[in-house]
Symmetry: C2
Subunit: 231 residues, 2 copies
């Protein structure tokens, strides 16, 4: 064969990754990071599949969709996986973000230092409650909402982490959108209404909990699923 890797690069762009595929790829990224730390420089689809409890074919298909090519008999180069997924998952891009709402969850998020790994830099933390203004959370001084507008403009922030109560969520969202926020990581258990060009990711903890409890009760009553994931 006469090509090395240059001409198949285009495919990367067109692949419409499904939500499920994206989740699996994020997991693959984590696995690959781990493998790298352990000194391995390749991973194969079987290992990844086992860790994700899915079919190896599916992993290979996801890899292909993400524009990652492996080598027969070898697997995927960890370096390739990390580099390409960096791009596909958009992890390599640097983005500024603000946190709005400093209840317990907002405070935890403000103090969480794992975001930087994903290219997110928190440049401001806001709360409407004056009692909270001035507190220091994870190196950030909590600012009043009045300051939010100018900060968004100065840093050209387009990403907001929303951790306000349900009652304020929609209103705050509308305000943020009108100030040019284009992506919202929503921790309030409401379905936000936003224009089509604004991206929302809901992190609905109550929903996650409900699902856990449901499955727990199901297993308790009916026993574990007949078909074990991948023993």
């Amino acid at each position: 064969m006469d090509n090395t890797s240059t001409d198949r690069r285009q495919r990367t762009e067109e692949g419409e990754l499904s939500k499920a595929a994206l989740e699996r790829l994020a997991l693959c990224y984590q696995m690959a990071t781990r493998k790298g730390e352990e000194g391995q420089d390749t991973v194969n689809s079987a290992e990844l599949a086992q860790a994700l409890s899915v079919d190896p074919t599916l992993v290979r298909k996801d890899m292909a969709a993400a524009g990652i090519t492996g080598r027969p008999k070898v697997g995927y180069l960890v370096a390739d996986v990390l580099k390409q997924l960096d791009t596909v998952l958009g992890l390599s891009s640097r983005n500024d973000a603000i946190i709005v709402g400093c209840g317990h969850l907002g405070a935890a998020l403000a103090a969480y230092n794992g975001f930087s790994m994903y290219g997110l830099k928190v440049v401001g933390v806001f709360d409407a409650d004056f009692a909270k203004v001035g507190q220091v959370l994870g190196g950030h001084v909590v600012l009043p909402m009045e300051k939010c507008r100018s900060l968004i403009e100065i840093f050209r922030v387009e990403i907001a982490i929303l951790a306000v109560p349900v009652s304020a969520a929609q209103e705050t969202t509308d305000w943020l959108v009108s100030r040019n926020i284009r992506a919202i990581w929503n921790f309030a258990p409401v379905q936000l209404r936003v224009p089509h060009d604004v991206v929302v990711r809901n992190e609905n903890l109550a929903q996650g909990l409900a699902q856990l409890i449901h499955n727990y009760n199901r297993v308790k009553t009916h026993g574990p699923r007949t078909k074990p994931p991948h023993a």
Copy 2:
């Protein structure tokens, strides 16, 4: 037709709700709660569908699968929806749980008071780090791991909320499982290995973030999806 509603009740049990369906139903539950608070006593599939950005038919199918019957021209009784979803989502069951790991996230979870709504009662909060032991978080005194075993036995706890670092996650899980924990709400970004009869729900924030950023970048580059959700 000659039946009222008694004989179609059985169906409730067999319906294998998919993960996606479960998520939608959890959202329906929230919507119905809201409607109830606003004084409405019915909701129809169109309203719900709009709020969830899905097809009305899908809502009706989910309702049917959950064993909820509506009335033509009226919709679903809010009371019916809440009562039946209480059961289906297992919200009405009361369960004791422990929180393991009291970093920022664990602390936020310990202080979060929304769990009780879902029938979960936190009966103990633990950390391996002695520096954290004795702190009070949301009304709970942080206990050392040594106390964990007996507390699990005394309360017959089967649900654990895991908020330890990645490095400790699998080990802690193995320990908890050996002590008879049967459901784990996992906040560490690792895929835990557990026996088939143990239920795990992953709340992988990094994964959520990766997805948000990916979509944000996509929209920024290619513009919003051609097919608007449900304008």
